[in-house]
Subunit: 277 residues, 2 copies
């Protein structure tokens, strides 16, 4: 791995560049983004040079797609003609099935390995980039075939993933998308629905609220820009996660006065405690 | 207001005692609780003396019931014979209709004014008591008749509520219970249901979760001991709040790919931002 191109130098892309440098990567890191973002990323030290996609793709042996999902799908459609044979292409998109399918359809010369670092911040943009963003966080990889991980370029990429402090976890794309529909997309929609319901039924009475409502609606502050593509590319699993959640809420509603609800509180408290370990 | 009796000297009762002293209340503060709690409350300086209910009730001109809801209902059943005529009795229970109804049924000599300070902490017990717990927080009062608030003892009690830094808000008990079913009870059940759903469908994959799940399930750590009485004494409004929430979730599920969901994200984000002002 001599030359890296980061396409989309925002929070994740910029943090990946900073993390590589902190971990000792010495080759050039090329950035592909809008002129304003390139300028900020250069100032921040996250990239060494800004280039158009064609120029960066021709030079890189690792291309790291850190755009929003819809933009990653667009890039995959036109990337194959721009890369040298055997270039490793990876991404950091929050859903994987649609991206893996697009890579399968469009890439012949490039090798694709889907990825999803389970890291983030409330604020976006390269100004928020952080060399330690991935430290201690799970980094999901979704190879279409297990032997993909044994190719020299993938072995080298995984070594850098570990060097930046992340913990690689291998899943297939469908299983990834099913899991995150529960662990990430459902919490978002639960918080959005809660805030929207409170707005509709008690929006004039927010002085009569405890601190719990504030915590439970923090995710409702999320920008829809990020969520449009996630919802569109993972709607099947999300529908199933919502259905399971609605079933659970109906079960609680039907058992407000029975012992059954105590068992649900205990299961929920154990899960919440495990998350905090 | 010469002598105060606090019945149930836990987080809320203990904080009320400390807050009164900090605000300059000079009369004796009597505590009614288990021997271990009385000892801790005396050490903490939240009360001046521990007494059995009958002795404390005979001496106090304000009786502050800060027990769990079920215990408040029990105390109201036997309190009237113990108090001097005209004693003001108030409470800090999280639901109000059942408590106000019990007071109406059982009190003849005592004057009742229901209350609900919108304050709390994750940890319970007098060891967590804090003289500033009520500062800046809404303190709901639920008089059965508005003129109750003009009696001298109520006027004096309200002055102390303001002196401890709380902001009184007058509601009738039913309206209070409807509002908190949305602003407090629904967030709790949304978090419990979310954690229980994730435990069931993705409990083995928690390494594949972002920080949002942790925030959104913090309330799921709550002890069921507190919630048993809340759910039992406010089940009607809670059923309606859950029904509204389920309707909203179904609406999101049916609109994952339409522009409609963007509007819901905007309404939700505005509510979440308002809560943070």
């Amino acid at each position: 791995m001599q030359t890296v191109a980061i396409v989309g130098v925002g929070l994740i892309g910029g943090s990946f560049g900073l993390a590589l440098k902190k971990a000792g990567f010495g080759g050039p890191i090329l950035g592909v983004s809008s002129p304003a973002t390139i300028e900020a990323a250069l100032r921040r030290g996250a990239i060494d040079q800004g280039l158009p996609l064609a120029d960066a793709a021709a030079r890189a042996d690792l291309i790291y797609l850190a755009q929003p999902i819809g933009r990653i799908l667009d890039t995959l459609r036109r990337l194959d003609d721009l890369v040298r044979p055997g270039t490793l292409i990876t991404d950091a998109g929050s859903t994987k099935s649609a991206i893996v399918a697009a890579a399968r359809l469009h890439l012949r010369r490039g090798l694709f390995l889907g990825g999803h670092p389970m890291a983030g911040k409330e604020k976006r943009g390269v100004a928020e980039a952080d060399a330690d963003l991935f430290r201690g966080r799970t980094y999901v990889l979704t190879p279409e075939l297990g032997q993909m991980l044994e190719t020299p370029c993938a072995v080298e990429f995984l070594a850098w993933i570990r060097r930046i402090g992340a913990v690689p976890v291998v899943l297939n794309a469908q299983e990834h998308d099913r899991i995150v529909s529960f662990t990430s997309h459902l919490p978002q929609l639960a918080a959005t629905a809660l805030a929207a319901t409170v707005a509709e039924h008690a929006g004039d009475s927010l002085s009569v609220a405890g601190p719990g409502l504030t915590d439970t609606t923090r995710l409702a502050l999320s920008s829809f820009d990020l969520w449009r593509d996630i919802l569109a590319t993972n709607s099947g699993p999300i529908e199933q996660a919502l259905a399971a959640y609605i079933t659970k809420l109906e079960h609680l509603r039907d058992n407000l006065r029975t012992r059954e609800i105590e068992g649900e509180f205990e299961i929920a408290a154990a899960l919440a405690a495990t998350l905090r370990k």
